[in-house]
Assembly symmetry: C2
Homo-oligomer: 476 residues x 2
């Protein structure tokens, strides 16, 4: 009867899968590595989409749509790009019953097809900046997959911008990184570190990759969004030039940036507990659920009261009522907890008689009794409180599990015993980075922005003078 | 300088392509048969999506997402389905550098993958109805393509519903047909005929296909949406059963229904003229454009006045200002006409001095001068007028080009000279239908709903007693 969710403490990975299954967010599909996003999971994605889409439009971007299929030769035009993506490609070799003259790959990302079009659309500085975003499915052949976090096909948005100068492209790269950071923190209630990726972790084809990184409840990092300064790499690969104001021909400067359905995995793993999902009110498909509790003799009275409340709250909140007579109140309470609905209103004969409501918060389990007339205002405040509490709870957790270290033995011990974020000096060599990864499975998540003035510490691995402050963690 | 649009009278097909290119709605892609939807075209699609999505949700549907790739064996499970779709499939044979054990096809439509999941989700009558919609890209290998109307990849929505009885599935099929009809008429301002398809035109795998059909300005029909009663065909192919209230196992009953980016083609071809696009206000990305007209000596004054108006109208309308100083007012007027913006506000020094505004409607070209203070109310009324006028203009055109005929010679003459819709009796035989198609290129578009009580006329081809009233036309 109650949902079967493995406790986090027992098996964190199984807990994650159980939540997805019990909350009906997604399901395995018959195609290996691909998932089905069920209505309750897709409703979350729609809320993420709508919020981000508005943020993109408010920063001057327009949506467009480019083809799913890309000629194989295009992918090969940018040397690093093909090296990075070729092991992950799905290839169409037959169309309309005939072998294709050139194989077509399903987009793993769309830089190449988009820059082949930008060549047609950009001639002069007057055509710049070109600020386009696409909501689309992409496909990367993955060996090991996990629902939402890493699937062969996933949904995402990819912004692709073209600029007249390096400075402008770089500014855009950072602007969108901070759009992602705001979205993660203000809507998903997930604190994130924003920073630069090391060379070994950057996007195949970028000059620089920036990312936001979140800490999951098992102390592992999850990359939640990336923004790339592409320099002139794709403009050169596709020969996209513009006439500048002085009349000279230059290659165009570019950025690209994306977030995906992986964000839903981040949401689950940041906030939820052993009872089920916990969702930030701003993104929850329903903010409130009403559960009427009645027996035959008071059924009409309780239902009338509950529906009167529903009608009144409907204009203020995303709300539903669970008045199915085939299930017990206890089952409905558990179900609302599995689904992560932020506020539950319980209405029994006593509440009706006293003109009261019983509220339960999903995040803390706290209950409070209020007068019917206070409903609208109290719920507003409660939803704000829950949103803030989730963010601060996650922030506290990250603080508790972030360690500033100079000793590599301590570093190894932490990564083994109770992984978290480690801030250390790094000399900047690929070798030290690789050794650390080999020995601890921890990688450099970011070189955090805003910490450039910190005194550089010596490299945690080799002890040579540090070039960077780096944040290390095991990662999804 | 002005847009290069071939007049409709000269070359209708070229006129259509010119409008798409000049209004920057779409572009050809490097992949044969696939198109790029540019920001102005995509903005139209977003408005279509948002409106329809709300209508789907208001009728109880939820969105979900199913995989792009379908095992080839699934497509073969429903006999008619594979016969209909096999010539159009794109096949992935290589993934992650290796030949796949079973080829995967890119979805041409998702009945098979969805019903394979419904098998997991449906056990009891309590799981029904299941009302799911998906917004997705699909791919059908087409030999001859035309931007928006027929492309290898296109964007669409596909509803897939599961029901406990034949009657309920049929009711859903018709309900969604009429949702499409309302959307076409009330938002796109396109009058449509709703009716049943003949056997030869129905969806591969359906019991019955219903469609809405619109008349384009060249008198040809365009199928703008379809709704299928699938009976138990897919439930049987995927063995999807449920326990009914009496405890007996039954196969589930189904419907599916879809509209696509083809609707944008219908919009263009129904309303536009030789100057460019004409868009119904309810779906236009911008309802209003302000064009300030100034010389150096009155620039500041005119721009201030125009921006004051912009600020005031912004809260009421989707509006933009074209105050680029590098282009002339004449060029901007032409541009706003190419883009199909319903209302243009022209502001010169005279308007500023007299506290007036000059309005121009895109649909009739009519101009009117109003007081500044009347702007909000007048524009509201004007937009409603334009929306209504477009619908009635299209309805009049359809009436003028619809012929009730009993004489096959006359039928042939019309299809040759000036195609339109022909209402005739039909005996119901595949043979007569095929002969008519062969001789005139006209097909049965629909057996219209709501005309069942009309006295059946004799078959237009064979002269035998008519079974149906059928609407014939040449079609896109």
């Amino acid at each position: 009867m109650a949902a079967k969710i493995t406790p986090r403490g027992k098996d964190y990975s199984q807990w994650y899968i159980d939540i997805i299954m019990e909350a009906k967010l997604a399901d395995y599909s018959p195609v290996k590595g691909c998932m089905v996003i069920r209505p309750r999971g897709y409703a979350l994605w729609e809320n993420i989409q709508q919020t981000l889409d508005k943020m993109f439009k408010d920063t001057g971007h327009s949506n467009a749509y480019f083809p799913l299929l890309i000629p194989e030769s295009f992918i090969k035009k940018e040397a690093e790009h093909i090296e990075g993506f070729s092991p992950e490609l799905a290839v169409v070799t037959v169309g309309g019953g005939e072998k294709l003259p050139e194989p077509l790959v399903i987009r793993p990302t769309s830089e190449t097809i988009i820059w082949s079009m930008y060549k047609k659309w950009i001639q002069s500085y007057r055509d710049l900046p070109l600020l386009i975003n696409q909501w689309a499915n992409v496909l990367r052949w993955e060996k090991r997959t996990r629902l939402f976090l890493r699937t062969t096909e996933f949904l995402w948005q990819e912004g692709h911008t073209a600029h007249a100068s390096q400075a402008e492209a770089h500014e855009e790269t950072l602007k969108m990184l901070f759009v992602y950071k705001s979205f993660a923190e203000d809507f998903m209630a997930i604190p994130v570190l924003a920073g630069l990726k090391s060379e070994s972790e950057k996007f195949a084809g970028a000059l620089q990759t920036y990312a936001i990184e979140a800490m999951m409840q098992d102390g592992k990092a999850l990359q939640a969004g990336t923004s790339h300064d592409l320099g002139q790499n794709f403009a050169k690969a596709f020969d996209v030039t513009f006439q500048d104001q002085a009349g000279a021909l230059q290659h165009v400067w570019a950025s690209s940036w994306g977030v995906s359905t992986r964000l839903i995995g981040a949401l689950i793993m940041t906030h939820s507990d052993d009872k089920g999902l916990i969702l930030p009110p701003k993104l929850a498909p329903e903010e409130v659920v009403i559960v009427p509790i009645f027996k035959n003799e008071n059924k009409q009275q309780v239902l009338e009261y509950a529906h009167r409340l529903l009608k009144q709250l409907k204009t203020h909140y995303r709300i539903k009522i669970d008045d199915d007579e085939a299930s017990s109140p206890g089952w409905k309470f558990a179900e609302s907890e599995v689904q992560g609905i932020p506020v539950r209103i319980e209405i029994g004969p006593r509440e009706v008689n006293e003109n009261k409501l019983q509220l339960a918060r999903r995040d803390t389990g706290e209950k409070l009794q209020i007068n019917y007339s206070e409903a609208v205002d109290t719920i507003k405040k409660l939803l704000e409180d829950i949103q803030n509490n989730l963010f601060h709870r996650a922030l506290m957790f990250r603080k508790e599990n972030t360690h500033e270290l100079t000793d590599y033995k301590e570093f190894k011990r932490i990564m083994e015993d109770k992984p978290g974020f480690v801030e250390s000096g790094w000399c900047g060599s690929l070798e030290c980075e690789a050794k650390i990864k080999e020995q601890t499975k921890a990688t450099i998540r970011v070189i955090p922005l805003g910490r450039e003035d910190d005194e550089p510490k010596k490299c945690i691995y080799c002890g040579n003078p540090g070039q960077y402050l780096a944040v290390f963690a095991k990662a999804y």
